[in-house]
Amino acid sequence: MKFSGGVHPAYHKDTAGLQIEAMPLLHRYVVPIAQHLGAPGKVLVAKGDRVARWQPLSEPVGFVSVPVHAPTSGTVKQVAALPHPLGRPMLAVEIESDGEDRPWEGLAPPADWRRLEPAELRRAIQAAGVVGMGGATFPTHVKLSPPAEKKVDLLILNGAECEPYLTADHRVMLEQAAEVMEGLGLMMRVLGVTRACVGIESNKPDALEALRRACPADVAAEFTLLETKYPQGSEKHLIYALSGRRVPPGGLPMDVGCVVQNVGTAVACLEAVRDGLPMTERVATVTGAAINVPHNLRVRVGAPLLDVLAHCGGVTPDVGKVIFGGPMMGIGQFDMDVPLIKGTSGVLCLRDDEAVLFEGGPCIRCGACVDACPMGLVPSAMGLIAERFRFEELGDWHILDCIECGSCAYVCPSRRPLVQHFKRGKAEWRDILEERRAKTDRDAKRAETAATA
């Protein structure tokens, strides 16, 4: 099935043919404590401590929280607020490597996922700090723990990789096909589902073939080649394309019996259980016209951006912008001191002439954004309202359904900064809802007091 809307940006998947290369050990790593959506963990180490590879640096606080682990052995140089790819400095552990790469003695013993209970698997996945590797970094064990009243019957493996430039998932599917499918089987066991769908965009038929061949006999998976269209890899659109189910506004995939997991996440879950290894590395695509030697890199989490760029031959003199993630939803970086984190699927280096800043013009009501919006919203109207600070009207336009995919801004002939308007508008609309809720509560309390008096 095809979802309506969406766009066809130039794909630039130039690195698709490059084998994943392991990044050599660096002398310094900066591991932010908050690399996932949810409560940041509690730091377990202090300045001067010796740590071993895979040793936990933090412990989760609460259910929606995961630990982070040391990417190599060495000494803790500092625990401080350091530059973070999300823009604001955040608490991080800086480790000076001792070059030994000595593994931690406390690692969980290797186990066979086919013999473990779902609860044990979930615990192992949380302890290993596994988060969604598509970029949103939602803790994986939470997604794998649907409440009893939400019956999940379908696990979807997301290999769409619809962001232009990025090829990390593509290479993982080709080079680690067996692990991806084992990981899928593991996650199916955790959820207790018997049906799984694998969705891959039609520009990667080789990946689909590799996964099909590597599929173990006891993993029941269906394989679908999807239309190549952005944002095919968005959870809601992938679910619709593969099952025809529509996630209700404000709802979650589990409301329609689905859970979606990225292919990299599947591998991380498998490694957490099969080898007992925490998530301390990921595959990231370093690409763009302004990087000298593009790579698909297996990089340890916490590797400083400058070292990664240097390993790829450095940036060209005409570099204009460095983005973490893809060009559509990635985050532009202004500080080259940031580390790569669990959610960094790629580092995109654009030339100055590619990264032009446009002055947004007035809306000409052409409706191109309305056709492009994959959520069926009306970005033109929402943009005009947000621009005039009339945030209280945005609820009527279902602003909270916007997935910030950027399709509207991509097609806008006036180059309006629509996604920025919507990000602000969402924040303001949430505040308004919060205020209204507080007021209702106050009124109810007052009515109660009046009634008793």
Binding site: G87, G332, D335, E387, P417, K423, R424, E428
Partner: protein, 272 residues
């Protein structure tokens, strides 16, 4: 000529009678105290009290939902009058004025990236806290200016907001509008201020802005054992209850973030 005159007058009389009856039949009962309070209030409908305007606030006072001194704009006499209408008394309070605790314009403060989105501080603040290298600095896109009902906020040529004390009524709308929490209400008669909100250590603060408070404690040390100026978390604070009034103090500050404004205390020129 006569017929149309009579007909039209008749229609007018009938309609007038209808209106008069309707006004009687559908009259909305209001507490007479609400009207008296509304009359006493400044009538600028600025919303500084948190209600939809002076009338709404008056209704809230009568219902007991707002305190009679809840209007931040009016003077002490009006507050007393409002309170007496509902049979209450109010405490005297020193007149206040808003103050922007940042003077980091483009000439002194570094930027960390080029921002070309919506011209609103709250939007810019979503992008890594804004384009100023200083984590606390004024973004200069005028959210405070936009909400001010009295035209009391101006933007300096170097792109930082400044309060015009003569117009400020201390309604507090700008305080709520600033995404960087840079605006504070201070006593009108206070003369010495720390115009910085940066909590970074000295070297980091200095790198971001040349007029930042470095937390060097030179000002604090001039009042040994006295809480009038104290440094906490690398930022100096004035205790406005016992604010010092000494132009020589400002000279102690190596960066100029401690400022003396002897002329900054004109009685606010009220709009009422």
């Amino acid at each position: 000529m006569l017929v149309p005159t009579v007909v039209l007058s008749g229609i007018g009389l009938l309609a007038g009678l209808g209106l008069a009856l309707a006004a009687r039949a559908f009259a909305v009962e209001t507490d007479p105290r609400q009207d008296r309070i509304t009359e006493a209030l400044p009538g600028a409908n600025c919303g500084g009290c948190g209600f939809a305007g002076c009338g709404d606030f008056a209704g809230a006072v009568v219902r007991g939902d707002a305190k009679p001194d809840g209007c931040p704009v009016c003077d002490q006499e009006t507050r007393r009058l409002v309170a007496s209408i509902v049979g209450q008394t109010v405490q005297d309070r020193a007149p206040q004025v808003a103050l922007i605790l940042c003077q980091g314009g483009d000439d002194v403060a570094a930027k960390k990236y080029r921002y070309n989105g919506l011209a609103s501080c709250a939007s810019a603040a979503l992008l890594g806290g804004g384009d100023k290298a200083c984590s606390a600095g004024c973004l200069g896109l005028g959210d405070c200016q936009r909400v001010c009902a009295f035209g009391a906020v101006e933007m300096t040529p170097s792109g930082v907001a400044r309060i015009i004390p003569a117009r400020c009524t201390a309604c507090g709308l700008c305080v709520a509008a600033c995404p960087k929490d840079l605006i504070k209400l201070v006593p009108v008669e206070a003369t010495i201020h720390v115009l910085c909100s940066n909590h970074d250590r000295g070297p980091a603060a200095k790198k971001a802005c040349t007029v930042a408070c470095l937390g060097c404690k030179k000002c604090e040390k001039s009042f040994t054992g006295d809480p009038r100026i104290r440094v906490a978390d690398f930022l100096a604070y004035i205790d406005y209850e016992h604010a010092p009034d000494d132009p020589a103090l400002a000279a102690l500050c190596p960066t100029g973030s401690l400022v003396y404004r002897g002329d900054a205390a004109p009685a606010a020129e009220r709009t009422t």
